[in-house]
Amino acid sequence: MTRALPAFQFLLTLAVTFLGLLAITFVIGRVVPIDPVVAVVGDRASMETYNATKEAMGLDDPLLVQFARYVVQVVQGDLGMSVSTGRPVAEDLARVFPATFEMATLGILIGVVIGVPMGVIAAARQGRWIDQVIRVIGLAGYAIPAFWLGLIGLVVFYANLRWVGGPGRIDFFLDGMVPVRTGLLLVDSAIDGNWEAFASAFSHIVLPSFILGFFALAYIARMTRSFMLEQLGQEFITTARVKGVPERLILWRHAFRPIRVQLITVIGLSYAGLLEGSVMIETVFSWPGIGNYLTTALLNADMNAVLGATLVIGAVFVGINKGSDALYRVLDPRART
């Protein structure tokens, strides 16, 4: 009982949050100033046709009934048809999602691999120049628009230095040459043994991932620094120092260990944030992911696609957030109540 209850509560809040997300997309779908019936029958239809169609579409039913129907549809994986692509939205989303996942995952890896050591070093050298540099990077992460940094990155590293590939996922002459297995181009081309495609895909993903990674590392480094400073001020650190434990061991073994669990939540939060940030970055880099799909749908007033993409991004966001929260509770004995 004592063990099952938190798990049950967790699932309940998760379900309520998802239901809330569905309610929001449902409401957004209702406030659209386009009359869905007129969209079907045209504005010259007679009143009878209009009413008959309205009834057939279920728009006569009470809102709650309509909402219940909507929830059932979504749970069954039916997100409606996209007006602009002419395919089911769910199918479209399944096709574009791996591209976003690949970019965001590489981004969070960059953020963790660079951000965590940066935060530890900043805490160890508190107040020195390296700490100031990291502070400035942290501030920049809050003040620089991602899409602007992306544009500048393209000008500098693609147009002028020619270090990386341009917009898109792969050079156009290699497009479609790699059989789709996982949808992750780096993985697929490696499985296929097509190293030319792998190199091309890599040169295209590096820049957008680094720009996403920059925003992740700004946040991760800041949080790591403040967690580390908290630990370094504790008495057991002083004890270790008095015992003559080398500073490196104090940093990584004594001070860093206890904060690993806290970092999971931070990393989870910034990973979820990256999925959101990819909406902007994908537009800049013409990256065929879910963000690009969403913005294209927005400009075409393709509401089913907009709501479907919002729903998927929202669900993944909620899933990662709540998941890292739950992991934190499981891993940290102090958080168990």
């Binding site: 309520v16 501030l139 003040a143 628009p145 899409f147 403040s226 979820a272 909620v318």
Partner: protein, 300 residues
Amino acid sequence: MTTRDWLLSDDPETRMQARLGVAYRLARDLARNPLAMVGFAIILGLLLVAAFAPWLAPYSPVEGELANRLQPPSWTHWMGTDELGRDILSRVIHGARITLTIVLLVAVISAPLGLLVGTVAGYFGGWVDRVLMGLTDIFLSLPRLVLALAFVAALGPGIENAVIAIAIAAWPVYARIARAEVLTFKGAEFLDAIRMQGASKLRIIALHVMPLCMSSTIVRVTLDMAGIILTAAGLGFLGLGAQPPLPEWGAMISRGRSFILDQWWVATMPGFAIVIVSLGFCLFGDGLRDVLDPKQRSRG
């Protein structure tokens, strides 16, 4: 007695004197923090530029000379000209008004809403608290930018709708903060005293609970300003915020995208304005937090 002594007096004679004294102490503490003052100077600069835009801008923000299109930065056009021959500096200066309007409107809508939800939830407790905070948590756990995008998609593009969309996505944070603050003094005797004097619940919340949550809310709003500016610019960049020919910074970057490889200044210059203004709010917000909310003070 100097004005300073009067302000710092330990037993003020009037309520006004006490309040001015508190304000003086805050201003003095803030002035000791150089980074906060840099942020303050930037915000002041933004206000002045927005107020005097027509006098400061050397050219018209909407009319250009096609003969002068896509000119690089020079002494006559400090930031160059765009694809319609409009002076970019003049557009950036006028854009300050739009940015300021968006930021202020979002703050004016979302902060009181969050404050109201948070204080009511915290003060009443019980099922009111559970319902309101459940709602807040749902909004809080959703991605803000994507939520704003979806709302704009439904309401239609434009500044007003962008403001509404951003405000809808922004209020939950303030509700959480206000509620947490209320819980710290909910059982305090001064509230019992007011209650025994027969004050209504509305009066207690509006006049005695809310004012105490103001400082932490103000700090948070200031810190959030940078995020609001970035979201607004992002909506503009996607073509969902301010519509042409309005000189909104995000929309300007979006227009400049087509020329980014040859005429880098068109897209780059408005970006600098966004970075500087966001940075100003970040720095000032950090300073305010240290002064108003010492518990949250960041170490080091």
